[in-house]
Amino acid sequence: MSGDRQPRPQDFKVQSRAALADPALRASFRSAMDFLVDKRAAQFPDIGAYERLRSLGTRIREHALAKLPELLERLEQNLTALGVQVHWAETPSDANRIFLDIAARHGAQAMVKGKSMVSEEIELNREMAAHGIDCVETDMGEYILQLDGDRPSHIIMPAIHKTKADVSRIFAEKIPGSAHTEDVDELIAIGRRALRERFRDAPIGVTGANFLVAETGSLVLVENEGNGRLCTSVPEVHVAITGIEKVIERLEHLPPLYTLLTRSATGQAVTTYLNIVTGPRRAGEKDGPREVHLILLDNGRTQAWRDQRFRATLQCIRCGACMNHCPVYTRVGGLSYGTTYPGPIGAIVSPHLLGLDATRDLPTASSLCGACGEVCPVGIPIPELLMRLRGAARRRPAPERKPLRDEGAARSRAETLVWTAWALLYSRARLYRWFSWWATRLRRLTPAWQGGWTRGRVPLRPAPRSLRELLAQRRR
C-alpha cells in the first residue's frame, strides 16, 4: 500500500480484506507481534508488582486529566518563563501554519524530524513539502517509509510491515551511491550516513513529546536511536509538537510512567535515550537550540475530555501494547485502519479526531476479547470505550449532552428495528416461548445463507427441541 493510494478509515473493510489475503504480511505481523508480546511479558514477571505499578500509572494519568486546564496553564507559564514559546493549535491546519511561520522567520528550507505520531496526524511532511520545505524523517523506520511514500503501520514500530528485502530495494533506489545489500547492519549504516548529512544542515529540528511536566516546564522525549537527541540539540531551532493530553503534573510522576511505557512498548527496562528538554540553550552553554517551541494540538481531544464517558481515552501513553496483543490488528496490520493511530487505541481515539462517520467501522472491528484492556499500562477500559462508541455511532445523541462529532451517523433503520424486535421478543417470556417453539419446529426452514456467519461456517440452526421443553419432558 505505498504510493498514491493512501489508506482511509472509510475503506477499512476493503483494506482489511486485502491484508487478510496477503499470507506474507500476516505471517510477518504474527511473528513480530508474538516477539513483542513475549518481550513485554518478560518485563512483568510479577503480576502483583505489575498491577501495583499499573494502578499508580492509571492514577497519575487520571489525576492529570482531572486537572488538565489548570496543568496546561501552569505548563505554559513555566515554559514561557524558561524562554520556550508555546503555541496552541486547535486543528491540524493551525499546527501546520505555526510550523510554516517558524520556518519562514528562519528562512528554513529543511527540517529534520524525530518520530512523532502527532506530526503524522497533521501530515506535516506533506504540508511542508507543499510549501517547498523538505521535512526529513530521522527515525530509521520512518525514514524508510518516507523514502517509499508509505505510512506507519504501528505507532512504535512504524515500518514493521517492511521486510529486509523491501528496505534493501528502497535504499538502493532512493539513496544515491548506496550499494545493494540485504545485511541489516549495513542497511542501517547506509541510512545513518545519509541522515547525518541532513542533521548537519537542517536549521530546524522537529520532535514529538511523550510527556510534558507542568511543574518544571519540561518536554520529555523517549527514544532508542539518538535521532531525537540530535533533533533537539543540533539545529538552531527545536519545535516540539504533541497533544494537549500529554501533560503530567510533577516530575516525580515521570518515572512510573516511563517504566510502564518502555516495558509495555518494546519490552525494555530502559530506553537508550531519555531526553528531558527544559528550555533553550542558556548563556555559557556550548550546544542546544537557541529557540525552542512547543505546539499543543487539540484536534478533537477536547471532545473526548469534556465527555466523562470518553475521557479515559486520553490516558493513553502511546505504548502500542494494545495493538501488539490485538487478534484483529495482528491479522489485518496497521495500514488497514487508514488512521494515524491503528489498532484498539486507534479505534477509540480516531472517532474523536475524525468523527464517528468516517471511523464507523473501527469500533466494530473488535471481538471485545479484552486483551487490549488487560495489557493497557494505564488502565484504559478499551473494550468498554469501544462499546460506548458503537452506541454513540448508532443512536441519536441525548438532548442534554453536547453531541460527539457525527454522533448517530451510523444509525440505520434496519439495525435499530432488528434490535427493537429482538428486545421485544426476549423481554416477553410468553412471546419468546412461542417463538422458540416454532423456531425448533421449523428448524428445517432455517436459511442456508446467513450473511457473514455462513462465510466460514455452516448455518446456525435451532435444535429440534429447546432446553426448556427438554427439561419439562424430563420432569414428567
Binding site: 484483529v328 426476549y426 423481554s427 419468546y432 450473511g451 427441541r465 432446553l467
Partner: protein, 253 residues
Amino acid sequence: METDTHVYLFATCVVDLFSPQSGLDAVEVLEALGVTVAFPRDQTCCGQPAYTTGFADDARRVAAAQLDLFPQPWPIVVPSGSCGGMLRHHWPRLFADDPQRLAQAEALAARTVEFCDFVDTRLAASQVADTTPVRLALHTSCTARRELATHLAGRRLLAKLPGVELLEPEHEAECCGFGGTFAIKHPEISAAMTEDKLDALQASGCAQFVSADCGCLLNLNGALERRPTTLRGLHIASFLRSRLATRGAEQRR
C-alpha cells in the same frame, strides 16, 4: 466443600435454542453433586448481543425482564462464561441510573457463578466413574477468561478427572473470532481468527476440546464442520457428565 442444596440455572439464549444438550448435561452434573436445580421458565437472555453492539437500551429491557426470576438466595449457575460475565459485571452498569433495579442487579451479580467455578469447588474424586485416557484441549471464552478467570476454574476442574491429559494449543488465550455481532459485521477478520484457532487446536493433537462458552462452541464447531476432520468441541458439562456416574449415564448403560 460448599454445601448449597439448591441452585438456579440461567441457561442463556444460545443454550436454550442451539445447544440444549449442554444445558441438560449441566443439570445432570449439578444433580450428581447433590444439588437441586431450578430452571425459571421465564428466563430468556442476558442481553449481551445488544449490549456489545451498542444498543444498551434494548439490552436493559431484556435484562430487566430477568431480574425478578431468581427470588431465592441460591447461587445462579451460568453454563456460558461470557453470559456469566454479563450478569456479574455489566448488569450493574446497565442499571446504574435506576437505584431499585441496580440493587437487584448487584444482588444477582453477587450470586452469579460460572458453571466450572461452581462444579470445581464441589466435585469429589470419588464421583468420577470413567477414567479412560483422553487428550483434551480447553478453550475459554476470552471475555469470560478476563472477567471471571474461567480458564483457571476449567483447568482445576479437568485436573480432577483421572485419565484426562490437558494439552495447551498455541496462542491458547487468543480469541476464537466469535465476538457476537463482530462475526457478522467483519466476517473475514472473524473467519481468519477462527481458522487460526482451529489450526492450533488441530495441531495440538487433542482428540476433543471442551469449553464452557456456548458462543465460542457454536463458532468453532460451525467452522469445523466445513473441515475434513472429526474434531469437535464439546461443552465441558457434557464431557463431565460422560465421566461422572450420573443418572443419565446409568440410564444409558
